[in-house]
Amino acid sequence: MAISPPTERLWWKTPIHRPELIWIIVAFLWGLVMFFMMIYWHAFGQQNLSTETYRTTPNAFYAKTEAMVQQYRVRDLNGLPVVRPPAGGDVYMIGRMWLWYPALELQKDQTYRLHLSALDLQHGFSLQPININVQVHPGYEHVLTVTPDQAGEFSIVCNEYCGLGHHTMLGKIFVVDGPGVTP
């Protein structure tokens, strides 16, 4: 029994039963499939998280973001600037208590370098309803290269707890087909 010492003193020399042996082989091979699936996706899949990261400071990142806002602001949304940066370029987004700043207007099927960092605490960049989730740290500038391939209004939820106003923290990304609306 499992609660008493093994009956065979040389238990490591007893043979393995066939169903066990087959299952060990199947499970091991399945593990290999799952392992190489991740590597395969790096080579051929379209959705891989960038590892491009720089050290930054809240002040430096805020300055870069603010420069973009000043240059490319097209309108406001409830007091939040909406920025339409040139297609293919660098765009910045700040996570802070309790807002994603600024709102972005991107063109469908264009590729952007999206820089993410936090000013105060950790935040969770959670793009809905598409469901892309990336952790955002203060002091680290994470550059994702994304290609929005659907037009529409997307919301960014914060999905890392960041204080009592956490559940009010939202942001926006508008993806427009063609030249877009610039009222």
């Binding site: 499992a2 093994p6 065979e8 007893t14 169903p19 790096h42 379209q46 590892t51 469901n131 391939d149």
Partner: protein
């Protein structure tokens, strides 16, 4: 010093050190108390998430969520595990416990530390979630309590190792240690790694909260913290798998199909499980993909292999034992005629099935580097770990309690009908919690979130209607689970304090058939077709669900 006093258990014939027995009792009672407290916090969290009820205000919700994680994930489970470690070393090996006085010191430190951290949370100064990610800072006694608790638990592990050495020196058993003790040893080895990691990160964080250290790097914190946070879940796995084997042995006289295979599977845990910190860092900046792929897969899924092996050998050993006892018809007579009315068995078997299907499969899928992008920090994550830690570990511990009460506390189970239904109700509730949170997470709902309607936000957003339904079903499931939990507490308290004293030998196993199986004869005669079918169904579900999630992933925006 050999002042130990023993009694001989009339049922099992084991020699039980009375000092060890008292320590087992104390740790188990502390565990159950924290389960009750943490469970209530959990219920209040689930009822707040249910939009139609929305029980708690925001500050209390986040406070209750922090306390829930602390009390059940840490205190309930580790206290119970320490009880299991003493049981698996001293009791199963007929040995005196090493340094029982130190055992009380460890118990005192764990209790004091646990209470201190609870106080700091209840004071409202430490609403930082169980994970306490910097730069979010808790009151200093939050960290201090955790450190005290961890050091106490580390001492208890030392007593476990010491007892193994004593038992070997004093030749209290013949040959190798039992499989269950081997599993407990696995848990204790992982625990040392885990608790050391905890100390390495919590001590500087405590100094930071005191203002002595100026900066804690948030990424470094996560890496080391999760070497404690995730590896401690592997302690749970090792212990509850050991409990599955123990219950199978006690109820059916089941013998492991192969000692070599089962022990090898435990060894895989020791070698690879501590890589799991990476599961929490898959969508973080600053770490290479190579690092993520290697670590998140436990070096090519070798620790997952260990669990998949136990997933066959545990039911397989029960099937083999039952067939020996005469339940040999068809594929499933052995299972149909199992003692489903015995909560030790029903709890154990539900734990086994739900751990595999709910917790296991979802865990491997979400731990796939790229798939984590569509799952990280959504409600899918707590959905997964309620499948592992509650449906798996907690239910197994509850099942074990129904054997510990007559054997260690020497009391008859009070309210046997309540006890009979308890695992089913709790299991149903927890299964629902796990499934519906995973469902809400698949729809994108954030974990740790007070208001999914975003009513107080400057911008507009709402999750899809289906998410509201999921959270309502989650609330109902939580009520079922909490009722099952309450039944457990009532049975435990009733039995321990008001149960009739057990006199003489008691019947653990189902009565029909010859009780114990000494050997299965040659390997050719071993037949476990029912288990093969169950494992086949599991494997099919695993493969399907795995590739479905790759399909989900392929629908999101291209990114690199």
């Amino acid at each position: 010093m050999n002042a130990s006093q023993f009694r001989t258990c009339p049922t099992t014939g084991l020699k039980i050190d009375l000092q060890a027995q008292s320590l087992i009792k104390a740790n188990a009672v502390a565990a159950v108390v924290f389960l009750a407290i943490g469970g209530l916090f959990g219920l209040s969290v689930a009822l707040t998430r249910w939009p139609a009820v929305h029980l708690l205000p925001a500050d209390w919700f986040y406070l209750a969520l922090t306390a829930h994680g602390l009390d059940v994930l840490l205190l309930w489970i580790i206290f119970f595990e320490i009880a299991v470690l003493y049981f698996a070393s001293s009791t199963l090996l007929n040995s005196r416990l090493a340094a029982p006085r130190l055992g009380w010191v460890a118990f005192g430190m764990m209790l004091g530390g646990g209470l201190l951290t609870n106080v700091s949370v209840l004071q409202g100064q430490s609403t930082v979630m169980f994970t306490s990610y910097p730069p979010l800072m808790a009151a200093q006694h939050f960290y201090l309590g955790l450190i005290l608790f961890a050091v106490g638990a580390l001492l208890a592990c030392g007593i476990f190792f010491g007892t193994l050495v004593i038992a070997r020196e004093e030749k209290t058993y013949k040959g190798s240690i039992p499989l269950v003790t081997y599993g407990a040893l696995t848990a204790a080895i992982i625990a040392v790694f885990t608790l050391a990691s905890g100390a390495i990160i919590l001590i500087p964080t405590w100094l930071w909260s005191l203002g002595i250290i100026s900066y804690i790097d948030p990424l470094m914190y996560k890496l080391v913290w999760w070497a404690m946070g995730h590896s401690s879940q592997q302690i749970n796995v090792s212990v509850h798998v050991s409990i599955w084997y123990a219950i199978a042995a006690m109820l059916f006289g089941a013998k492991p199909l192969s000692e070599k295979v089962s022990r090898g599977a435990f060894l895989l845990y020791i070698l690879f499980l501590q890589l799991a910190s990476a599961h929490h860092l898959l969508v973080e900046p600053g770490l290479s993909s190579e690092w993520k792929v290697f670590n998140t897969s436990y070096a090519m899924y070798l620790a997952v292999l260990g669990s998949m092996i136990h997933g066959m050998t545990v039911p397989g050993s029960i099937e083999a034992a039952q067939r020996k006892r005469g339940f040999d018809k068809g594929f499933f007579e052995w299972l149909r005629k199992a003692p489903w009315g015995n909560p030790a068995f029903s709890g154990m078997f539900l734990s086994l099935v739900m751990f595999g299907f709910l917790g296991g499969i979802s865990g491997v899928v979400m731990g796939t580097e790229q798939i984590n992008i569509i799952i990280h920090n959504t409600l899918y994550v707590p959905g997964h770990f309620h499948g592992t830690v509650v449906a798996g570990t907690t239910l197994a511990f509850m099942a074990m309690t129904y054997l510990l009460i007559p054997l260690i506390f020497q009391r008859e189970i009070r309210f046997p009908r309540l006890a009979k239904w308890q695992p089913y109700l709790f299991g149903l509730g927890v299964g629902g919690i796990s499934l519906f949170m995973m469902g809400a997470g698949t729809l994108g709902v954030s974990r740790r979130h007070w208001d999914i309607t975003f009513a107080d936000s400057a911008l507009d957003f709402s999750y899809p209607e289906a998410a509201f339904l999921m959270l309502a079903l989650n609330g109902l499931s939580a009520i079922a689970a909490a009722t099952g939990g309450l039944m457990y507490i009532v049975v435990v308290v009733g039995s321990v304090f008001f149960g009739r004293k057990v006199e003489g030998k008691i019947a653990l196993a189902a009565p029909s058939g010859p009780p114990a199986v000494a050997t299965y004869g040659s390997s050719d005669s071993l037949r476990i077709p029912g288990t093969v079918v169950l494992v086949g169904v599991f494997f099919l579900a695993f493969v399907l669900y795995y590739f479905v999630n790759w399909k989900y992933l392929s629908d999101i925006w291209p990114m690199r």
